[in-house]
């Protein structure tokens, strides 16, 4: 499916010099209407790209914003975000399990909302803020949701955990803090076959009580 070359697109800092030609294309995704806001035409910045151009099926240069860093890579249009992250960018935290927008193991945060990265084309993720589990902690400190996962024994085999942490982070960051019902609903797009739900809900609820991120 996708090319499996490791690290096809090296991670570059924001200071990296402007890219040339095709890859300068910026797709600006619009709206991302948050709860409570009326999404109206005009909220999104002008889409600048002359995008009425056919791309692919051979690999196309794209730019993704991952954990605050701009990353250049080449993907066929069919490559999903999870495959680009795992196979080309060595971001292997998000897991590919069902690959059908159901289990939630591939959950990453895009423009502040949890999304199934198995069901978003990498080419469509351009111009959007992508946060992965690799970006929410440092060597020395874990994110409060991760801390509470440890405290509340919220994982067993751990394969669903990165997705649950990311889905949990979105709701734990909410202000005012979510109720337990809000937490259950916010985690309903993630499946854990070990059945760690009780601990996971407690962990996310506790993290939210302690101020989320």
């Amino acid at each position: 499916m996708s090319s499996n070359k490791p690290c096809d697109g090296p991670v570059k800092g924001p200071q990296h010099e402007p890219r040339k030609g095709f890859s300068r294309r910026t797709f600006i995704e619009g709206v991302g209407i948050g709860a409570g806001a009326v999404g109206a035409v005009g909220m999104a910045p002008e889409a600048r790209a002359d995008s009425s151009e056919l791309m692919g099926p051979s690999p196309v240069p794209i730019t993704l914003n991952i954990n605050g860093k701009s990353v250049d890579l080449k993907v066929e249009p069919r490559v999903t975000l999870i495959d680009a992250l795992r196979n080309q960018l060595d971001h292997t935290g998000a897991k590919k399990v069902c690959d059908r927008a159901t289990c939630g193991a591939c959950t990453v945060i895009v423009d502040g909302s949890p999304v199934y990265s198995c069901t978003l084309l990498a080419i469509e993720a351009q111009g959007r803020r992508i946060e992965t589990i690799e970006g929410i902690s440092t060597e020395d400190s874990m994110h409060p949701v991760q801390v509470q996962f440890v405290e509340n024994d919220a994982q067993q085999c751990g394969f669903c955990t990165p997705g649950l942490v990311m889905a949990g982070k979105v709701v734990a960051d909410r202000n005012p803090p979510p109720s337990m019902a809000d937490v259950e609903s916010a985690l309903s797009g993630n499946i854990c076959r070990c059945g760690t739900y009780v601990g996971v809900r407690k962990a996310v609820y506790e993290a939210a009580r302690q101020g989320g991120a």
Partner: protein, 322 residues
Amino acid sequence: MQNFEYIAPTETITAAQALSPHDGVTAVLAGGTDLLSLMKERIETPTRVVSLRNIRALRGVHGTGGALRIGAMASVEGVLGSSGASSYKSLLQAGRGITAPQVRAMGTVVGDLLQRPRCWYYRNGYGLLAMHEGKSLVPNGENRYHAILGNKGPAYFVNASSFAPALISLGASVTVAGPEGEREMPLADLFRIPASESERENTLMPNEIVTEIMVPSASGWRTATYEVRQRQLLDWPLVTASVAVRLRGGKIADARVVMGHVAPIPWRSSEAETALKGQALGESAGEAAGKAAVAAATPLSQNQAKVQLASVAVKRAVAMVA
């Protein structure tokens, strides 16, 4: 997934012109929550994907002029969270059944209307009608989630849209854009029961795009949606019913009753509407409407239970508006 060429125009007309007039050659990509799964299963194998993401005109949710307008790229979350939708109770109740925040953020309301059937024969490559040696496999097969109405065959799947029953009961219409321009039609006319494997379950031409849903003002209407669910979270409901009624002098003057997950199209029940008209809103009216809604039901070998579930869904939706 079979590879494809990709285009993301900024104008609807360009998008429509990039689509093939022939079925199955090109695909329209909005939220992708259904299309990508179908492509991974090779049930859909387009050679070109036309993305709507750069078309600004399709992004909005407007609550102006007494009507609600939902653009093709408006997400479920965006619509449910909009102030414009807050007066459409049945719409909000229908949307709450879609619980996964990932689907709510990525999936669009128009995409919910146009999702392909969830029938497991179709999803496992047996074709839309699951035909085998000239006969559908469904009537004597695994059909416990299949149709109980509109199921004379050869289509036995159910329309799985969460929003369609509520929207139809609210009198919604849709705008459809093709390479030569736009047309409008009542939402109910978007759906059809296919008569052969070469037909789809909607009336769109392969190069047409639903650009907008228009919901007229619900002022004066009492509306509700009731879902019968096996699981409270993540899954589709077993049966759903949306009701809209208008009272005059304490009696029901106008009524619209639409059921979901019971037929290959969202099923409007004129029998239930007749049962409601002229009655006072209350338990007996709901009971009568529920009975009338399934009077013509023809369950298959395994889905007799859905008849009772549908009847109860209608009854409870009426109770919610009372």
